[in-house]
Structures are given as C-alpha cells and as structure tokens.
C-alpha cells in the first residue's frame, strides 16, 4: 500500500508544519524563563507599577515572538536580555544604594543612570553584532528592542522621563555600532 493512499502527502505535511510551529512556540515559552526573573527584580523598585508591568509584558511578548521566529532575530534575545540588565540595574542601584528616590533632587541622578545604562547596553550589543557574519542590522534591532524593554522595566523608577533617557542612551550607543559595522563591511 502506498502511503499516499492512507494520508495525502499535503495533509501530512500540513500536520507536520503545524506541529513544528507549535513545538517552536512551546520551546520559545520554555526559554523565556529569564523574563519573570527580570520582572521580579524590576518589581522591587519604587517605580510606577503600570509602566513597569507594561514594559515586562512587552518584554515577554518580544522574547517569545523572536525566539519562535528563530534565526538572527531569535539569537538576539539572550544578548538583549543580558544587555538590558544594565539599564535595569543601574537606576535601581542608584535608588537603593544612593538613597535617591525620584521625584525630588534625585531625579537627575536617576535619569543619568538610565541614560548611561542604555548607552552601555547599546555598546555591548554593537560589540556583539560585530562578531556576526550576516544579519547585523536585524540583530541590533531585535536585541536592542529586548534590551529596551528590560531596561524600561528598571528605568520606570524615574517614570516616563527615565524611559526616555534610557532610549536616548540606546540610540546614542547604536550610532558608533552602526558606523563600525559599515566600516567592517567594506
């Protein structure tokens, strides 16, 4: 008996494809375990809960979605999470250790910490991107988005200005990475 008589090839291929996509999604969810860890760390801060939770939700969606997509996009998740720890931890460290709580004179220190965290994260990702043979722009965009979401969860201690400062730091750090990437490509 020919196999095509029992189950048509196209039908079996469709079932296999669906199993593959579901398997990838399950795999992506399983590998997103650092997101709750980042969330727990971010929730110990004294930032606005709404902004922190929104950043964490975006981070979870992004981490699972990129991992499910795979390729260069998926490979940017872990470096993005690692780099995102800098803008996450710096402002929270300043708040906890320095005793600056945003709202008063400590706001400037918090904003500087957010901007510095973003800048460092971006430089780290740019350095990592240089080791790739192909797909650097996509890697930078995907890992940068993950780092931005993780960082935003920490910079929420300074509210929207903190998140904006971190984004400015990320953008400033990306410029040399892009320039170096173009130089390396020549």
């Amino acid at each position: 008996m020919e196999w095509s008589e029992t189950v048509p090839a196209a039908l079996l291929a469709r079932r296999a494809r669906r199993a593959y996509e579901i398997g990838r999604l399950r795999f992506a969810v399983g590998r997103a375990w650092p997101v709750p860890v980042v969330g727990a760390a971010a929730c110990t801060g004294c930032g606005p809960a709404g902004e922190t939770l929104a950043a964490l939700a975006a981070l979870a969606l992004l981490a699972v979605g990129l991992r499910w997509r795979g390729g260069v996009a998926g490979s940017g998740v872990n470096p993005g999470l690692l780099a995102g720890l800098l803008p996450l931890a710096l402002p929270m460290g300043v708040v906890r250790l320095g005793g600056f709580c945003p709202g008063g004179s400590g706001l400037a220190v918090c904003l500087a910490a957010c901007a510095a965290g973003g800048l460092l994260a971006s430089l780290l990702l740019g350095w990592r991107a240089l080791s790739l043979d192909a797909g650097r722009p996509l890697f930078l965009i995907c890992s940068g988005a993950v780092a931005a979401c993780a960082g935003a969860a920490g910079c929420a201690v300074a509210g929207m200005p903190g998140i904006a400062a971190m984004a400015a730091g990320l953008a400033a750090g990306a410029a040399p990475a892009v320039a170096l990437g173009r130089l390396a490509a020549r």
Partner: protein, 182 residues
C-alpha cells in the same frame, strides 16, 4: 541512507532548529520514506507501521526546535521513531490485536505480554544491527550468547575473549548511533 543524504539531513535539521522554514520540505522529504521503511521493519502490519511513522514524523517536527546540532540528526530521528513504534506495539498489545503466536506461548497478565513484546521488538532491532556487523563480529556475538547453530571460532581463549569484547563494543556503538541510547 547514503552518506550524502545523511549529511544533507544533518544540515537541514540544523537550519530547521534555528527557525529556517525553507528547510521544512527538504527534511520532510528526506525523513518520511525513511521512517516508513523503519516502522515497516518493526511492525508487522502495514497500517500500524504507517500510523507509527506518521506519529513519529509529527513528533520529530514538534521537537525540531530543541534539536541539538551536535547530535546526529538521523540517529535522533530514528530514536524517536523507535520509541513511537514501541508505543504503538504496546498500544496494540493492550487491544490484543497483535498475533503473538500459539496461545500456550502467551505469558499470563498484561505486564508479561508487554515484556514479551518489548523483548521481541528489541531483539528484532538487535538482529538488524547484527546483520550490519562484520561477519567475524557477528559470529563472535552469536557464539557468545549461545545462539542456535553458532560455533565458537577456532582461536585461543584470550583472542576469543578479546574478539567478543570488541564485537559487543561495535554492536553497542551501532545501537547508540541508530537509536541514541544503549
């Protein structure tokens, strides 16, 4: 499966695990006929073999994202197929659909039947691997286990022991390559 096809399967599985959807159809086309042949060797009825092969194929694609590129793709896939065939046989034995031989050969109780089936399935797979060994190794293994019709090679005791040891090591290695576990 020829060396070239095996290398192609390995390369395509790595790409598929990385999320490259364009590797899906090549993997499907390489694996499906192979799984059908493999299941047909382990299950006596064509319909059962087809069911097991289909389920194995679905399981392989379902786990493709977690495939470790350091592993051999063929052994990995056949390991999943072997497990699926065994599961299918257990399922069938519970429904008592597999003719096991004369009624007086049947052990009493479900556990006994499952053990018998598992043993038969394993021994069939081992026999297949034995057929792929070098004749001298095959002869040594069969003589060591006292198989019917086998004779001990006319060599010294120490040389015979060494040959048996090497033959079993090759058999274990072949089993590991084919099924992933010993």
């Amino acid at each position: 499966m020829e060396r070239g096809e095996r290398d192609r399967l390995q390369a395509m599985m790595i790409r598929l695990a990385d999320g490259d959807r364009s590797a899906f159809h090549p993997v499907f086309e390489l694996l499906w006929p192979l799984l059908r042949r493999f299941a047909a060797r382990l299950l006596p009825r064509a319909e059962d073999a087809d069911d097991a092969a289909q389920q194995a194929l679905i399981n392989i694609f379902s786990r493709a994202a977690a495939f470790d590129p350091r592993r051999d793709a063929l052994s990995w896939a056949l390991g999943i197929a072997f497990h699926e065939c065994r599961t299918q046989r257990r399922r069938l034995s519970r429904r008592r659909e597999i003719p096991l031989g004369a009624p007086d050969e049947l052990p009493s109780g479900l556990d006994g039947m499952e053990s018998l089936l598992a043993a038969r399935l394993q021994s069939q797979a081992v026999l297949e691997l034995l057929g792929e060994l070098r004749p001298a190794d095959r002869e040594a293994v069969l003589a060591a286990v006292g198989a019917e019709g086998s004779t001990r090679p006319a060599i010294g005791a120490a040389a015979y022991r060494k040959r048996v040891q090497r033959a079993f090591a090759r058999l274990r290695r072949a089993w590991r390559q084919r099924h992933g576990v010993v």
